[in-house]
Symmetry: C2
């Protein structure tokens, strides 16, 4: 699990670190794996009773992902959050009968002390940023489960919830705090550490819970936090419950939430999320439908996403083409069903590359297969997503995975070539990209008889897969140009060639065979020549044209300020607050306001 | 104008630098003054012909505010932007007949090369951030004039507009580019300097002009930019006009805009913005109605804003109480009219403190005077703002000044004491504050017979002074709590005492005489003990609860990312792109993506 189990194939090393050391990352990493399962959890206990699941945080002090810190008082590091992410995912897929989830602590008198400070203090800047991003995504996943899966999360704070601990509670629909004169909620980051409550804290307090901004200001400067009735009055929590009524009240709230749940029914029991079939070397990551070739020299990952091949009898998705499949077959196939399988693979690949391959700055996406197959899978899901829990979950998971791509600080380029299947759900990969190139015609030298590439706009592109800003990628793309959007929607279901796609504004450029190699090469090489930081800022702005939501505010406004603060000597310098905490030394501040 | 004219009273030193040197600010500053007038402009020429004003940028190469750089190719520094700000303000107040403003270049073949790179490279981090903030505010002022004053800005790009030059054009309603095979618009910040087009560029391209995000991505990586028809097709400009038709087309567009203008009429000619009566020492800044005592030890500016005193016959606003005044009197009083005078003073004070007093981290606001007087001034303006250009301009100017406060990286605390007049327009100061304290009762030792403080919600608080997020400060305060907002609005016009104000949620705390001194002292001292950077991030998040607009996205998402990039070695380090530019050296990048 930790540095001990260095293994060539990290799939075996759940929620842990494997492979070569990278000392520049401050003892935090070798290679992190995001794969785990409840049998390997060290920090969470999952119990299910009828429609209510209880997820109890009980962090193993010696279970840190890196060395040099102890996870006291239910403080967490990335490894703890990887298990939480896994649990939230599994509840959705493996426990269809669960309609409410209580998050509580397995320890006495403390719910969660937030992110481990020593871990943060010793982490490199990229590690801190990546860690916060993943934590944010997991909290958004908790909200997504509540809103769209009918698994309502309730925070049962049986002790003090500080910093990231309270931020986890904020992601829940209802917050119960034990009223025992000592337990409180707090955001002590600013007074103690000189950083922000950066995993949603500042945004959710005002925008979700409606805490008045001046009270929120006071709260975020009061390290010991606020408990009892005042926490309720200020809307920091929903209820403060005396210890004698605690268990019963938590239980009642969970049952009430379960009763009110919009969880869809559907055939079959849960779908087991079995171990991913993944091979990982320094140069390649290979799953069943997704693969990535890592070119460290150019700083590029060449990613290919495949549709099932109807002609391949060994395809693990049987039948390879979904024509004639029913929703019952989807349940029977479980995690072998193509869309679920490919989504899990993409999700894992994004996390792997994002965390372990910082110098691979450009991700080039290709697809391979029959567009009709992709559209048939899409249709099967969308036909059932309103009534069947599993179809709904698969679509939601694909949505979240695309959102993960949107907030990934890598340049994304889609290459649309003959033999590709950028249709419906997979077209979203091209729409999520910063740029797309579509070959006009064919590669004359390679396969002059190939059918030219097409792209297809379909139902998946016009609603079920919104970005964090609440708009579809198409609507964001054509922001303020309703006519262009309407023109595209009018051509839905058509197989559009490169000229049409370019004219409709669906691809950036459509070079022909003669220009293709040079244009694509220059685009990729140029990207590698630019400042990685400036690219991150550019993409973080352009990808979110239009309205902002609480979710995009967390990734935009809040995260950007936090990242700035993380680079400042007042936090991360040798005398900064983050480094000084716990040493007995007082932080030395440059008092200039910027 | 430059370091030469060091003068004790900087009011004499227009748009320049005066006072003691501060070598830590990289040769950029002594003390900057924001006061200037057209007779002192070195970089802009203003010409007026009927309803059309032309503002020609013709930057004096040797006219930089600091030393060590030349303002070649119409590149700009803060001094150039101070003149632009002055011109935009004066057009609104001094030129009521102007209904369209053409911004163009006085130089041949170049419109504007953007912010001066050498200036940026040698600037400290706070200077860069402050400079960009003021530049952003001026560009927002251009948009505000177009939208609300009926002075429509047209960018006539008679040569290449690069970086900040194009960003200035983006703030205009209509962009004309000369079509001469060499002139282009460009955002070369990322490829050349490793930073962002951070004064609105990335936001306005997509959100205002509707440039598709992938085309915008390509555009922002192509240093030489895009001109001609392609610039029009991509919506980067509105028209590309051949040289032979240039003058006539620009003139036609200006006349058309003037005809379509919503500029209000009203009596009288323009109102001259005469030199502010300001005295400035190291410890105090004093105007007619506004004063600030600077306590460097505590890092606090104690700011007092006064209503006119009806009992003072020397009051420059005659009559001191507006009862019985008509809109004609407002015109006759001109910039002696209280609201205009106090707004100019506040505006100048904010800019002065923000730029020159970086270590004064907390601004404490008090008001002094009769609430009835403030409300009478407010009523006079609001009764006429829909029909009279001057009343409209004064309200808009107060709105912009409050917005400047909202984006100021200083902690704002309002103290509401007996003798204060936090009513209507001045109540906004308390609502803009991060926290407010209102004395319950009176100071028994000081003046036991004083009338306890009151605050009054009035029409100014419920519409005409929106924040950048499009909501009033009240609506932002009570986000998601319609009932609380309604309860407050129901009490409009009432003089609310401390208990009522606290109960209604209009003030943060209402301590009595016994607790007051300690509570206020602790709040202020505590603020000075926290990390200044973390406070900046905290306030930048809490002040903008709720929806985001293009304006708040520029100050939130875009600016925060830019500030982060400004701190990163890839831009600002010895081998960073910003420092390497023009030296012949290639920037050395840490290739890790964060």
């Amino acid at each position: 699990m930790r540095n001990g189990d260095a293994a060539g194939n990290e799939a075996a090393a759940g929620g842990g670190v494997a492979g070569r050391d990278r000392p520049e990352e401050n003892r935090m990493v070798a290679r992190v794996s995001f794969q785990t399962d409840p049998s390997r959890y060290r920090h969470w206990r999952l119990a299910i009773e009828g429609p209510v699941a209880t997820l109890a945080m009980d962090v193993a002090e010696d279970g840190g992902l890196g060395e040099g810190y102890e996870l006291k008082l239910n403080s967490y590091d990335l490894g703890v959050d990887i298990e939480l992410y896994d649990a939230v995912q599994r509840l959705r897929f493996e426990q269809p009968a669960v309609k409410a989830v209580v998050i509580t602590s397995g320890k006495d008198k403390v719910f969660c002390a937030g992110a481990n400070i020593r871990m943060l203090a010793q982490s490199s800047h990229p590690w801190k940023v990546n860690f916060c991003k993943f934590t944010n995504e997991t909290r958004n996943g908790v909200e997504d489960a509540t809103e769209h899966s009918g698994q309502t999360y309730i925070a049962a704070l049986n002790g003090t919830a500080s910093g990231g601990g309270y931020e986890l509670a904020l992601a829940c629909e209802h917050i119960l705090l034990i009223d025992d004169r000592s337990s409180a909620v707090s955001l002590p980051e600013l007074p103690l550490l000189g950083v922000l409550p950066g995993t949603g804290g500042l945004t959710r307090v005002t925008d979700k819970r409606g805490v008045r901004r001046d009270l929120a200001d006071y709260f975020a400067t009061k390290a010991e936090g606020i408990g009892g009735k005042r926490a309720v009055q200020w809307k920091l929590v929903d209820e403060a419950i005396p210890r004698v009524q605690w268990q019963q009240t938590v239980s009642e709230r969970a049952v009430t939430a379960a009763h009110a749940s919009c969880r869809l029914s559907g055939s079959g029991p849960g779908v087991a999320l079995t171990e991913l079939r993944k091979s990982r070397t320094d140069d390649a990551i290979t799953y069943t439908y997704v693969s990535a070739a890592l070119d460290r020299g150019r700083g590029v990952a060449e990613i290919t996403v495949r549709a099932p091949d109807p002609t391949d009898p060994t395809s693990p998705t049987a039948p390879a083409s979904p024509t004639g499949l029913t929703i019952n077959d989807v349940h029977a196939l479980g995690d072998r069903f193509w869309t679920l399988a490919v989504t899990r693979e993409l999700d894992d690949l994004i996390l792997d590359l994002r965390t372990n391959e910082l110098e691979i700055g450009t991700w080039v996406f290709r697809t391979q297969g029959d567009p009709g197959t992709v559209l048939a899978y899409d249709d099967l899901l969308l036909d059932n997503a309103a009534t069947d829990w599993l179809a709904n979950e698969i679509v939601l998971y694909f949505k979240r995975t695309l959102k993960r791509l949107d907030v990934t600080s890598r340049s994304l380029i889609a290459l649309i070539e003959p033999g590709s299947c950028f249709a419906g759900s997979l077209l979203e990969l091209a729409l999520a990209a910063d740029r797309s190139y579509m070959l006009s015609g064919v590669f004359e030298d390679v396969d002059p008889d190939a059918a030219p590439a097409t792209i297809t706009v379909a139902a998946m592109n016009t609603g079920p897969l919104p970005m964090g800003n609440g708009l579809t990628r198409l609507a964001t793309r054509f922001l303020g140009d309703q006519a262009a959007l309407a023109a595209v929607e009018k051509r839905a279901a058509e197989r559009l060639d490169a000229e049409d796609a370019e004219r409709l504004g669906l691809v950036t450029f459509a070079p022909d065979d003669i220009d293709w190699a040079d244009e694509v090469r220059i685009a990729v090489e140029e990207r590698a020549s630019f400042s990685p930081d400036a690219l991150t800022g550019l993409e973080a702005n352009y990808r979110f044209a239009g309205p902002e939501t609480m979710e995009t505010k967390i990734f935009g406004r809040l995260t950007a300020w936090q990242n700035w603060i993380f680079t400042r000597p007042n936090a991360a310098g040798p005398d900064g607050a983050l480094r000084a905490y716990g040493t007995g030394k007082r932080a030395e501040f440059d008092r200039k306001r910027v």
